[in-house]
């Protein structure tokens, strides 16, 4: 079976920029959150459960950015919520609860990563064939022809592998920034770096990924022609 080479650029992946527009702006605690916090401090586990429901998504995504493994991210997220419940009497409210909670999550995730020495980018990626969820499948344009969509998904997987091979500093910063859950200030607080450094890391990570994509793309094309 002979197939004509299909060229596709990373610009063909959709949806793209709109994914980054729904970042959560930081604001002071809402009255509802404040009420839940006060009740949770008084020992109300149900009120703390409401806080868990409110922040579980951002907590899980933050842990996943550090660990790259969904099971580990779930464990760390649970541990972080339990630890936050125990330390809640010490929470003075100087920072927002969300920031305080994410700091706990990030530290536990980094501890887990160090302890297990997770080479998460080397793990086999989940594919659509084994029935597990692969979010990269959503990157292919739904109205594209099947061959073009398959190439787009392959390109996305190569991009993911290259992102995983970045240095931990660049990879963490890029994943946190691209998640859309954190502002640059949040990321700076989590990683202990100034905002300017965070912006540079994101730019440098993009540059390295683009350069390696270009190199591997050329290699793939030349391999296909032979």
């Amino acid at each position: 079976m002979s197939s004509s080479p299909v060229t596709v650029s990373v610009a063909d992946l959709v949806p793209l920029g709109r994914l980054l527009d729904d970042s959560v702006p930081e604001s002071r605690e809402t009255p509802q959150v404040r009420a839940w916090l006060d009740a949770a401090r008084a020992g109300d586990a149900a009120a703390f459960g409401e806080l868990v429901g409110l922040y579980q998504r951002v907590v899980f995504r933050t842990a996943l950015a550090a660990l790259g493994d969904r099971e580990d991210a779930e464990d760390v997220s649970q541990d972080a919520f339990v630890l936050a419940w125990r330390k809640l009497p010490n929470f003075r409210g100087d920072a927002m609860f969300r920031t305080w909670l994410l700091t706990i999550v990030w530290r536990r995730a980094i501890d887990r990563r160090r302890a297990r020495r997770l080479a998460w980018f080397r793990r086999p990626a989940a594919t659509a064939d084994d029935g597990t969820f692969d979010p990269l499948d959503a990157l292919a344009a739904p109205d594209a022809d099947p061959e073009r969509a398959a190439v787009a998904v392959d390109l996305a997987r190569r991009t993911r592998r290259i992102i995983g091979e970045l240095s931990p500093t660049l990879r963490d910063t890029l994943l946190l920034a691209a998640s859309g859950e954190h502002s640059y200030d949040d990321i700076g607080r989590l990683l202990g770096a100034p905002v300017g450094t965070i912006k540079w890391r994101v730019s440098e990570a993009r540059r390295q990924v683009a350069a390696r994509l270009e190199a591997t793309g050329q290699a793939a094309i030349s391999h296909d022609r032979t």
């Binding site: 992946l13 793209l16 790259g68 419940w85 969820f133 993009r206 683009a210």
Partner: protein, 176 residues
């Protein structure tokens, strides 16, 4: 090298998808962990009473053993003794006896049982003890003053010299 805007957005999209997806519902799991009894509270009272008694027994036994066990004292180096008349050369050439310099000592703590009632031997010994010395009454200073010295007074006699006798010249005695 600058990354084109479309490529940067595409890379960000892939990076976003790497942390995206259906997250777990952690509310029930966290609530279950918050309401779970701690491990030490899951034991029954009978188990804890047995464990406490066993721990107390072990502690008492260990303490008793530690108090009764002989204490091993390490080697004690005997001091060098040089006899006054010893020859230096002989001391150097003679091989030292390995057992003569180090003394191993085992000290066992002995408990002296003290009875509140003295034995007959002790009573006999106590009966032979001398009477205590009489103490001078410290409230009377004169009683502790030394006695006056019994030395005879010196007698000073007047100085009496015999008169000088001068004889006339030509006498048999001559002048002196």
């Amino acid at each position: 090298m600058t990354v084109p805007e479309t490529s940067a957005a595409s890379i960000d999209a892939v990076a976003r998808q790497m942390t995206d997806g259906p997250g777990p519902d952690l509310r029930h799991r966290v609530a279950a962990r918050l309401t779970a009894r701690p491990w030490y509270a899951s034991r029954g009272p009978r188990q804890w009473s047995i464990a406490t008694a066993a721990a107390a027994t072990i502690a008492i036994g260990a303490l008793t053993f530690a108090l009764r066990a002989p204490r091993e004292v390490g080697p004690i180096a005997a001091p060098d003794v040089t006899l006054p008349g010893a020859a230096v050369g002989a001391a150097v050439t003679d091989p030292p006896s390995p057992g003569s310099r180090v003394v191993h000592t085992t000290v066992r703590r002995a408990r002296v049982e003290q009875s509140p009632d003295p034995t007959e031997a002790e009573l006999e010994w106590l009966a032979r003890r001398p009477d205590p010395l009489e103490l001078a009454a410290l409230s009377e200073p004169a009683s502790i003053q030394p006695l006056s010295p019994s030395v005879a007074l010196l007698e000073v006699l007047p100085l009496s010299l015999p008169p000088v006798e001068v004889l006339p010249l030509g006498t048999s005695g001559g002048a002196r």
